[in-house]
């Protein structure tokens, strides 16, 4: 019987190696696999390349991973942003490499990684600093940039419901990067708010089929923080 559930976050994070590329889903703290990132901090792997929409905010999650010196390189679309204090510190002393990517290009590169497309041309960034040092080509009159797929040795995902096959659904805006990150990981690890019986998630409902998922841990961590700006 296929059963991808593991009993603990520690078990879920087992085997992640130094030097791994780790994709971390989530957007603006929604659908962010915080328990798994904490598990990764605990687990100890270092020299990581982290792919995430931001370089972290505050002092937790991806920010803490960076603050503890475990991230050799970050690939993101927002580096400097409100609350990116730990990244700023580490970056200022030259202790982290940064690759800045437009957000749509970041999403498409991850999608390409999961879908077996090694590289693609995109008009995004044509004629800007983003194109600097990259192969470009005029297509239909527009400068397009050749961008490379991103795959993760590890992909960290947050889902709303998961079944034992690893089929996933997401909640509201918590979907964001999760489906593409799930598909782009060699080892895809999911924290799920709720456990579903096989068959409760119907064929039409399922957003991420279990084929993309390796391990699921039940983490009923509750609602993301409400931010009133």
């Amino acid at each position: 019987m296929i059963d991808k559930f593991v009993r603990s976050v520690a078990e879920a994070m087992a085997g992640i190696k130094d030097g791994a590329t780790v994709l971390v889903a989530g957007f603006a703290q929604i659908g962010e696999p915080r328990a798994l990132v904490d598990g990764l901090i605990e687990q100890g792997a270092k020299d990581l390349t982290v792919v995430h929409n931001t370089a972290g905010r505050g002092r937790e999650g991806v920010a803490r991973l960076i603050g503890e010196g475990r991230v050799r390189k970050i690939i993101c679309s927002f580096a400097r942003s409100r609350g990116s204090v730990l990244f700023e510190e580490v970056y200022a002393r030259g202790a982290i490499e940064l690759e800045m990517v437009p957000q749509g290009t970041l999403a498409e590169r991850i999608r390409a990684g999961g879908a077996g497309i090694p590289a693609f041309f995109t008009p995004t960034g044509g004629g800007t600093l983003v194109a600097r040092g990259k192969e470009t080509r005029i297509i239909d009159g527009r400068e397009c940039v050749l961008e490379q797929a991103i795959r993760g040795d590890v992909a960290l995902v947050e889902a709303w419901r998961a079944d034992r096959w690893g089929n996933l659904v997401y909640r509201d805006a918590g979907r964001n990067f999760n489906p593409i990150v799930a598909a782009a990981g060699t080892l895809t690890i999911v924290q799920a708010q709720n456990v579903a019986e096989l068959g409760e998630l119907t064929p039409e409902m399922i957003v991420t089929p279990g084929i993309y998922v390796d391990r699921v841990v039940h983490v009923p961590s509750g609602d993301p923080p409400v931010v009133i700006s």
């Binding site: 679309s77 990244f87 957000q103 749509g104 979907r175």
Partner: protein, 216 residues
């Protein structure tokens, strides 16, 4: 007298933009003043708002008691859904953006050039760690880019330029600029003034603008 005019407020500017959005358009609103535009579209005019984190059909901010912590827009503000809304993943959402499906994207700006170049993500050619976000994708993808910004910086530096000095977001993308002083089209012949705040003489507008202006 020459000083007898007032700039539009942020709210008036947002309302001025909203006035020009017809029913049935699919629209993405960037961070800042553009976000306010959504609140100014009359509820009975069906304009479908997209948020690049993966929502088509976004509604206004929720009543505090009805706030859904799982539902935010790309500016991380809590929002609601209109009837008919849907979710999609980030790659599909930016595919929608890049694929030319948005009728309009309203973006904030630092500088706009008379050839339509837009700079809105970094004030430095040498800052290597800024925030790019989704602006470049939106700027190349939407059918129309309207830029909303103050006509000059607080210290009076001009923002409507012959050529941008800040790093570009995209080349030639801007179709129209809404400032606190005027509405200006970007045309093959450069900037064309469509509207101004009441009482503002043309030469005063030109004095605050680097590139030459034409009257419509």
């Amino acid at each position: 007298m020459a000083g007898d005019w007032k700039p539009w407020t942020r709210e008036a500017l947002a309302a001025r933009v909203a006035q020009d959005i017809p029913e049935g358009w699919y629209v993405n609103l960037g961070i800042g003043i553009p976000t306010l535009v959504g609140n100014c579209v009359p509820p009975d005019r069906e304009v479908v708002l997209h948020s690049e984190n993966g929502i088509v059909g976004m509604g206004p901010a929720p009543a505090p008691e009805a706030l859904n912590p799982w539902l935010v827009n790309a500016s991380r503000q809590h929002v609601t859904l209109r009837t008919g809304a849907s979710y999609m993943n980030h790659a599909d959402s930016f595919g929608l953006v890049r694929g030319g499906h948005l009728d309009l994207c309203v973006l904030g700006g630092f500088q706009v050039a008379e050839n339509g170049d837009l700079a809105n993500w970094s004030r430095s050619q040498t800052d290597n760690a800024p925030a790019i976000g989704g602006a470049m994708d939106l700027a190349v993808g939407a059918k129309r880019i309207w830029v909303v910004m103050e006509h000059t910086t607080k210290s009076g530096e001009k923002r409507l330029l012959r050529r941008c000095t800040y790093p570009l977001t995209a080349t030639g993308c801007t179709k129209r600029v809404y400032t606190d002083l005027a509405v200006i089209d970007v045309t093959d012949k450069g900037f064309v003034v469509v509207d101004t705040v009441p009482g503002l003489p043309f030469d005063e507008l030109q004095a605050r603008t680097d590139a030459p202006l034409r009257q419509a």
